[in-house]
Amino acid sequence: MTGVIDRARELDEEYGIFNALAESDDSMGGGRLEGVAVSVKDNVCVMGMETRAGSRVLEGYRPPFDATVVKKCRGEGALILGKTTQDEFGFGTFNVNTPFKVPVNPHDRERSAGGSSGGAACLTSVADFPHLALAESTGGSISCPASFCGVVGLTPTYGRTSRWGLVDYANSLDKIGVMGKTVADAALLLSVISGPDEYDSTVSQAPPEDFTGYLGNGVEGLRVGVPREYFGEGVDPGVSEAVWGAVKGLEALGATVKELSLPHTGVSLASYYIIAMAEASTNLAKFSGLRYGLHLPLEGAFDEYFSRVRARGFSEEAKRRIILGTFTRMAGYRDAYYMKALRVRTRVIEDFKRAFAEVDILAAPTMPVVAPRFDEISAMEPIQHYMMDVLTVAPNLAGIPMISTPCGRVDGMPVGLHLMADHMEEGKLIRATHALEVSA
């Protein structure tokens, strides 16, 4: 598959997809992924391949091991193609928060590919060879770029896949997931990477499932809920219309549809950002220029050295999140911010539990808008960036599985339909999106 690597290099030059690329084909073949190139988001460790998670602070780091999900793909015969571009540590919605390459949207180069798994989504869209992507979501980093680039992005239940070998962002939120051009592609890769792992103490003990078994099962009798709050102010009317079109499509295929309410949708944003930043600020404490990554000459006392390495290694958004995350955990502020956010998270989870007592899946727009232009993005304040995640953070806080699949276009740009299901119910998402895909 050496031709694939050459082709990937060309695509990289055109779209800004890779932070590192395989030098040769060392795939073993012979499994479910024989002849398939698997790209890996930069924050997932690949043995011997520079792994920076989009950050200068990890410059030069070559992991001496494969992440569990990578190891599983190799075991199924895949070629591990390279490390795809992302926002630094996953801190972003448009993949512009990185000192390295910024991927462009394959449908319009003036627009964002989405973040934080932007390179993964962009490559999934433009690859003209058999390819599947390993991506990762903390608050919507699979769904958002999948929506903006018009591909399928599947974020599994928290704990469905091992996080061993992932450069952590927020441990109670991070999920390694998949992208593909089709639902069948996504179902195949999830089947390969899910399941228990002795190296991850938070992984579910549910045995691995063959998710391709849900393909073709149809949606007869499937109960679809449409949460009103996901079609509110700030959601582009064209996006709402496209998503409703897909919901009507599910109804025509035999599903039942009802509107319902998830009252804590709006406040999920603040809850999410406080928790994510608090966890991120503790995770980033380990980057100190000693054991791996960016090193500087050992000058000054240890506090001075660490502070200097970190100032040099982190870019602006990472610094902002460290400051905010440290603040919300500090004595005196912790109860009002961090603990309060965790209590609101309980409310968000209860919203979903109540909904899933009545329906099988929830349908909503993935993002409130289509991919914005880079000039629009650079005019936005940080709080406006965060607000773009208002539709994806709640399911991520609850750790439920979600899938984004293309459902039409607005201004020539893809719109994403977001389906969500209860914990461990990925099968229902695959059934529904596959039914829509084959009926289109």
């Binding site: 030069g60 780091y61 070559r62 001496p64 239940t157 928290y158 704990g159 109670s172 939120l173 002795e198 991850d200 103490s201 992984v203 003990q205 804590h264 406040v267 603040a270 809850s271 950002y273 404490a285 100190s288 000693l290 054991r291 791996y292 090193h295 050992l298 006392a301 240890f302 001075e304 050295y305 660490f306 502070s307 200097r308 970190r310 100032a311 610094k319 902002r320 460290i322 400051i323 905010l324 440290t326 603040f327 500090m330 502020y333 911010y337 603990m339 309060k340 209590r343 609101v344 998270r345 309980t346 409310r347 989870i349 304040e381 940080p382 709080i383 806080l397 609850a398 750790g399 914990h423």
Partner: protein, 96 residues
């Protein structure tokens, strides 16, 4: 969040010190402004009644995964990615 705290340069400098992060004058000024805006927006959590609600540190209950306490071989060298080593040790900056 009934109390109102003053978000000022002093606070940002204090946080940066705790977080071992050297900030430039420009960054301190910029982050002070942004912190005010962002924390003000986060205060909408005040509107949610969470009386008697337990905090969710995790999205769902998962049980711990334990294995037998037996040594297994580990094939890689923890020192291979550092530039600061002396013999079989990491070399760090001086303590003071």
């Amino acid at each position: 969040m009934s109390d109102h705290w003053t978000i000022d340069r002093g606070l940002v400098e204090r946080i940066a010190k705790v977080a071992r992060l050297e900030l430039t004058e420009d960054e301190i000024e910029k982050f002070t402004k942004q912190l005010k805006v962002i924390l003000e927006a986060f205060r909408e959590l005040d509107d949610v009644d969470t009386e008697g609600v337990e905090p969710s540190f995790h999205p769902q209950e998962l049980s711990n995964v334990l294995r037998e306490d037996e040594a297994t071989p580990w094939s890689w060298d923890p020192l291979e990615n550092t530039e600061h080593r002396e013999g079989r040790y990491f070399k760090g900056p001086r303590i003071q």
